[in-house]
């Protein structure tokens, strides 16, 4: 714990004990004042009792962020965000417990029901006081004990900073540098919490790791930071998602996820994103500006991203793989749905550095209503990546005639032995298809659900079983009312 003790000393010398405490006393509440400045960054860091190097890293990020401008190259439109008009730290507010399900928004309950969430779980999600039938805390604890036996670290990011500072310090920002892009840099300055996973050498994680319990328990904020390290020869499957639409008031979600796979390690990262998409007229909804990147550092390593993006007003997200180790493999499977006024500009980057590196990209974009769906992807084969291969397939499905599907591939090949394939299709659910289904007794919605699920099958298959079922239901819900 050399870093740990060093850090403790540095904190005292750099910040001065009384400054820190004085600051806390001065604020003495659970949220920082509106706006963003260095004091807020210091406040967040102090609240989390972070080591000095991390505070410095945050400050460095903040200063860098001040010099940056928002990217505007994505095919999305939105009003300018006033970054000084937001709160950057709010301790989890204890939710006001309701007495029974009768007090819960009936629309929310209807959605839960469609998702097939058991009643007790529904109560839990809706913030109703429940007895110990469904006790997520104890479930999480059993989880942790079992994982600890294998030497696996699975905890919140803040906890990892305290318990495994050497790992955090070594890998934080090593895949997504603090200066990477506007949102990632903002996140680096003000990130609230997130997950930390370390799988030791040669260990195959015996269960799917999920943020599910943790999110419910801790109510993580808008700037999540996740770091997953798979040491040599290890394997982990990580699930990120919410099983219920969060009626989140927060406008901006700028998360950063970093994955590191060492020699022969494999990481499978699955996301089902279902944030509030805004109403039918495009009012409200989450801006989901997320930076996700994985580094296949070791030889024969593999990182696989699977995402089902049905929520958010705007999605700006490109889970990527840096294929550095020879023979490493990157995969990206994506379903993105935009209905009503939703906009998505999403895709991936596959950067081939090592020899015989391989990547596969399969994306399914579904647009309905006035939704706009863009696939934007980069395949880059660097000079050293002899024998690299990429296969890309981008399919767009349109429902109705006011939506759009767009494909913007960037392909850069600097090694003559590389093979790169790109296929793209656009199709529309035709009136003939709908009528055919209806003539057999199916409703238009059932027909669309069937066609959409058929369209997405290739990607849904990549999800862990129980997630796939959930994802299918989510697709149905997001496309509700897209015809007729």
């Amino acid at each position: 714990m050399a870093v740990g003790s060093d850090t403790a000393k540095t904190i005292e010398s750099a910040t001065g004990g009384d400054y820190k405490y004085g600051f806390v006393t001065e604020i003495d509440m659970d949220f920082a004042p509106r706006g963003l400045n260095e004091d807020i960054v210091r406040f967040i860091s102090a609240k989390k009792n972070e080591p000095d190097w991390l505070l410095e890293w945050r400050l460095k990020s903040y200063r860098r962020w001040l010099t940056m401008t928002e990217p505007r190259w994505a095919r999305v439109r939105y009003a300018t965000i006033d970054y000084q008009d937001s709160y950057y730290y709010a301790a989890p507010k204890p939710k006001e417990l309701l007495n029974s399900l009768d007090e819960v928004d009936p629309e929310l309950l209807r959605t839960y029901e469609k998702l097939g969430i058991p009643l007790d779980e529904q109560k839990q999600l809706a913030g109703v006081a429940v007895d110990a039938v469904f006790d997520s805390v104890s479930v999480a604890t059993t989880y942790k004990e079992k994982l600890a036996e294998e030497g696996i670290v699975f905890c919140s990011f803040s906890e990892a900073v305290q318990t495994h500072p050497e790992l955090v310090r070594r890998y934080l920002g090593s895949v997504v540098p603090y200066s990477d892009n506007f949102y990632a840099t903002l996140n680096s300055a003000v990130f609230s919490d997130g997950s930390f996973v370390y799988i030791p050498r040669g260990v195959r994680c015996p269960m799917e790791l999920s943020t599910y319990f943790r999110i419910n328990a801790e109510n993580t904020g808008q700037f999540e930071r996740t770091l997953i390290i798979a040491d040599a020869g290890s394997y982990v499957s990580y699930l990120e998602g919410c099983t219920a639409p969060m009626r989140d008031e927060n406008q901006l979600h700028a998360a950063v996820v970093e994955l590191v796979a060492l020699d022969d390690a494999q990481i499978k990262y699955s996301t089902v994103q279902n944030w509030y998409p805004g109403d039918k007229d495009g009012k409200g909804g989450i801006f989901n500006f997320v930076t996700k990147r994985g580094a296949c550092r070791g030889v024969n390593s593999k990182i696989s991203w699977t995402q089902i993006e049905t929520g958010s007003a705007i999605t700006w997200k490109y889970p990527s793989c840096i294929l550095q180790g020879d023979n490493s493999v990157g995969e990206f499977y994506s379903v993105a749905v935009t209905n009503n006024h939703q906009q998505a500009d999403t895709g991936t980057k596959m950067i081939h550095i090592g020899k015989n590196t391989r990547s596969t990209i399969i994306t399914k974009g579904i647009s309905a209503g006035k939704g706009q769906n863009t696939y934007r992807g980069q395949v880059k084969i660097l000079p050293g990546a002899a024998g690299a291969r990429n296969y890309t397939q981008c399919d767009a499905l349109l429902i109705g005639d006011e939506c759009g599907g767009h494909t913007i591939p960037y392909i850069e090949v600097r090694n003559p032995t590389a093979h790169v394939e790109h296929e793209a299709t656009t199709s529309k659910i035709s009136d003939d298809q709908l009528f055919y289904c209806m003539q057999r007794g199916l409703s238009a919605e059932d027909a669309i659900s069937m066609i959409v699920n058929g369209f997405c099958k290739q990607v849904l298959m990549e999800l862990p079983m129980e997630f796939a079922v959930e994802a299918q239901k989510l697709l149905d819900i997001s496309l509700e009312g897209s015809v007729g």
Binding site: S427, S430, D431, D432, Q433, F435, Y436, C437, M438, Q439, R440, G441, L442, S443, A444, D446, M450, I451, N453, G454, F455, K457
Partner: protein, 270 residues
């Protein structure tokens, strides 16, 4: 199978017509296509509606099934005691109206088995029957496929995707057999079929004949009627039923063509 009052049983289902079309006028894209159709079909009967291209045969089929874009300007249709035109297309299907399409559409990504199982269960639910699970469904499907001499592989593929013309038509007949409608309307199911496929289709239709069910065969040619003997034959010309009769009428048409009805675009014989 000669039609007429003497063969009718005093069955209640037979007394009330299953389908009753009265003075039906329909416009498509501003053009009058049907100009006063009157047609009554009772349970247990097989009717052939014949006519040259452009006489309104397919329009009639689509209007019955509830396709959008067909404007009923006059007249009405009653089906099993209800106002058919008031019902949404899927309600008509659930009530037991089946249309075998002239051009069955391809639905990529949707497996034939999944599709038909969903449709069958919706229909069964509507009829107050328990839904079938995958095993029961498969057993039933295999039985029907054997009966209709249909290759099992057909329903393992996506709906109609990459099917030959004959396979598409067989698939329609197979779906009809599975869904067991009260009224089946076959829209030129015989056109473009070779003799083997035609026999399969005819076989399927004949196996569906039942005292509780009516079948309307819409056809250009009389040759299907060599295998499926209709109770009644109607000639459609210029959007009206120009003549109705028995089986003989079809044979007559084969000799004389549609010329006598003022439309002679093709011969009636195959």
């Amino acid at each position: 199978m000669s039609p007429g009052t003497e063969t009718e049983t005093p069955d209640v289902a037979k007394k009330t017509p299953l389908l009753e079309i009265k003075d039906l006028h329909v416009k498509v894209e501003g053009k009058n296509i049907l100009r006063g159709i009157d047609l009554t079909v009772k349970a247990g009967e097989v009717h052939a509606v014949m006519g040259p291209n452009g006489s309104g045969k397919s329009t009639l089929a689509h209007v019955l099934a509830g396709r959008e874009g067909y404007e009923v300007i006059k007249g009405g249709v009653r089906f099993a005691g209800s106002d058919l035109l008031d019902m949404a297309p899927e309600e008509r299907a659930r009530e037991g109206l089946f249309l075998a399409f002239q051009y069955p559409v391809e639905i990529p990504g949707v497996g034939g088995m999944n599709f038909l199982k969903s449709a069958l269960n919706v229909v069964r639910k509507h009829r107050g029957l328990p839904e079938l699970d995958a095993m029961d469904f498969l057993t039933l499907a295999r039985e029907k496929m054997r009966l209709l001499e249909i290759d099992e592989k057909l329903i393992q593929r996506a709906v109609n995707v990459g099917f030959s013309g004959g396979e598409k038509k067989r698939n329609e007949v197979f779906q009809m057999a599975m869904l067991e409608p009260k009224l089946a309307v076959l829209d030129e199911t015989d056109s473009g079929l070779d003799i083997d496929a035609l026999k399969t289709v005819a076989n399927g239709v004949n196996s569906m004949r039942s005292p509780d069910r009516a079948i309307i065969l819409i056809t250009h040619y009389q040759r299907l009627l060599d295998y499926v003997v209709p109770d009644k034959v109607h000639v459609l010309a210029h959007g009206r039923i120009a003549k109705s009769g028995g089986r003989k009428l079809a044979l007559e048409l084969e000799k004389k063509g549609y010329g006598a009805f003022g439309q002679s675009d093709a011969s009636v014989a195959a």
